[in-house]
């Protein structure tokens, strides 16, 4: 009886001790967070509730020594994690440069397409560098800096059943899109009859597309072109859809100090052809040289037309593929 009791008490104290240990573990962690939050809550206390400031200014970021940058972690080759757990890709290369020039440590935050605006609106990240296409709707919620990449929409489908026009999609067919992307918005608005199969991550959407659950996958054309190059059984039947857009870094609405700094950075990086170097470091394995001038935006200045971009590059470099894309885009815009 006595021995039994002893055991019970031991068990009880053990559980309690375990509890306390984990609790204190949590306590120290939240204390760390607390210090980061304090600055923002102090600042917000001085302002009205309605426009309480969720973001951190440039000085606050520098002071803290850390910047939170939202990137994709499953969108190869723009933002992904390699087998050593390191973030890699075109967006990440740029993010690393920003961190270096700011002189702060980067804390990468893995985002999904649909939560990018949320992350900025709630101040969970300072910058989103996650292949974020500039659109009017988004610009009402967040502030975009100068662009660093061109983009349009594209549709990829299996080679044996290539879809070259959206009208080929039968009523029962499903088109895969990722929730919260421009492709989803575009198809919802312009082709409400097309059935969409929506996923919240790139990884699940691509795996499902490979598994054959949809007849096509609509997304940024950069992404679908990369996909078709890497996966031999697939072809980009519609290389350009909708309007020609750009991709830019985004910050929380009103965070002008950070925005101005990024803009200045993009302009000065343009002088050293930084984004071409970025392309050559991260995208060339996927796209080859052909897409360099079509994709890259240097110094925040978008070339007025794609013809300018191709005249810029040497004649032999402007490939059939890129002129195809350009043609298709003019067709699309004339159709509108």
């Amino acid at each position: 009886m006595k021995k039994n009791n002893l055991k019970k008490i031991l068990a009880a104290t053990l559980t309690l001790a375990l509890g306390v240990a984990t609790l204190t573990g949590c306590g120290s962690a939240s204390a760390k967070e607390g210090s980061a939050e304090q600055t923002s809550s102090d600042a917000s206390a001085t302002q009205e509730q309605s426009d309480s400031k969720v973001y951190r200014t440039l000085d606050e970021i520098k002071e803290s020594g850390e910047i939170n940058i939202g990137v994709f972690s499953d969108k190869n080759p723009f933002g992904y994690v390699d087998e050593n757990g390191e973030y890699q890709g075109y967006d990440v290369y740029f993010a690393n440069k920003l961190g270096e020039d700011l002189g702060v440590k980067i804390n990468f935050v893995s985002t999904e397409a649909a939560s990018r605006v949320e992350y900025l609106e709630t101040g969970k990240v300072d910058i989103v560098l996650a292949n974020f296409t500039v659109t009017e709707e988004r610009a009402e919620k967040v502030d975009f800096a100068l662009p660093y990449m061109n983009v349009a929409l594209g549709v990829v489908s299996p080679k044996d059943k290539v879809i070259k026009d959206l009208s080929e999609i039968k009523p029962d067919d499903q088109v895969i899109v990722i929730s919260g992307t421009t492709a989803e918005t575009y198809l919802e608005k312009n082709y409400p009859d097309i059935k969409l199969q929506k996923f919240d991550t790139y990884a699940t959407a691509k795996t499902s597309f490979e598994n054959g659950t949809g007849v096509a996958w609509a997304n940024d054309n950069t992404e679908v072109i990369a996909y078709a190059i890497e996966n031999p059984g697939y072809e980009v039947g519609i290389p350009s859809l909708g309007s020609q857009d750009t991709i830019a870094p985004a910050v929380s609405k009103g965070n002008s100090t950070l925005l101005d700094w990024i803009n200045g950075e993009i302009e000065s990086l343009g002088k050293e052809n930084f984004f071409h170097a970025d392309y050559e470091a991260t995208l060339i394995d996927t796209y080859g040289k052909d897409y360099e001038e079509t994709l890259v935006v240097e110094g925040g200045k978008v070339a007025d037309t794609s013809s300018e971009a191709s005249s810029d590059s040497s004649e032999e470099a402007s490939s059939a593929a890129s002129s195809d894309a350009a043609e298709a885009s003019t067709e699309a815009s004339s159709a509108k």
Binding site: N5, K8, A11, A12, T15, L18, G19, V20, T22, L23, G25, C26, A29, S30, E33, E37, S40, S41, S44, Q49, S52, V54, S73, D74, K75, N76, Y80, V81, D82, E83, N84, G85, V109, S110, T111, E112, S115, E118, Y119, E121, T122, G123, K124, D200, T201, Y202, A203, T204, K206, T207, E210, E230, N231
Partner: protein
């Protein structure tokens, strides 16, 4: 079959670290739930009408709201409504403790009320004072009833933490997706191997704990 991708680089280690994130969140939440749940359970056993009404509403919310909905409300909703920005992990701990506290409180209340009044009376008549009655008679019985159920709660917490991927925490499932994505070209069937391994990892984490809970429950049944 896609298992080979886990042998590349640190991939397997990353997966385990991801599982560690889930385990950490569940253990912290269980610890908080036990402390708060015991307090609330005792309060509920007092049968104060105000506490009864409040706790009934609280338990009903927990009973019918999916944890995923609560996660979204706490993670995205609170920032909008209150202007506080929560870290994803903090939000997860809050939600899981909110849920676990309700479960624990209900168990504690049930255990307290299940002890017949005659035990208090006979203890007193045996000459034990109030403190001794609790110390030697009531609390040991309650602990016996509580421990298996609290251990059981741990496994349910661990399983539920798989949801935190949805609010952007990089845990085992998200790491799995990253591995599949980074090796799409080299290992096209990675999805099979990686998800099967994650399935088994969860099993390995939960099964011994639920066996322990069942063993204790049987042992202390009488």
């Amino acid at each position: 079959m896609g298992f080979e991708v886990l042998l590349k680089g640190n991939n397997m280690l990353r997966l385990l670290t991801g599982l560690g994130v889930s385990l950490k969140i569940s253990f912290v939440s269980v610890a908080i739930s036990i402390v708060l749940g015991v307090i609330l359970g005792i309060l509920m056993a007092l049968k104060n009408p105000v506490i009864t009404v409040i706790s009934r509403v609280y338990l009903e919310i927990v009973r019918i709201m999916p944890q995923m909905v609560l996660l979204f409300i706490v993670y995205f909703g609170t920032t909008k409504a209150l202007g506080i920005s929560l870290e994803a992990e903090t939000a997860a701990v809050i939600v899981f403790s909110f849920w676990g506290t309700a479960e624990m409180a209900d168990l504690v209340r049930g255990a307290l009320l299940s002890i017949p009044a005659i035990q208090y009376e006979s203890s007193i008549s045996l000459g034990l004072n109030r403190l001794q009655t609790y110390r030697y008679v009531i609390v040991p019985q309650i602990i016996r009833r509580m421990i298996p159920l609290s251990i059981n709660l741990i496994t349910r917490m661990i399983k539920t933490t798989s949801l935190v991927m949805m609010i952007g925490i990089v845990e085992v499932l998200k790491v799995g997706q990253q591995i599949i994505e980074a090796n799409r070209k080299a290992s096209p069937t990675a999805a099979f191997g990686v998800f099967l391994v994650i399935f088994l990892l969860y099993f390995i984490a939960c099964w011994p704990i639920s066996m322990l809970s069942r063993y204790l429950e049987k042992k202390w049944e009488n």
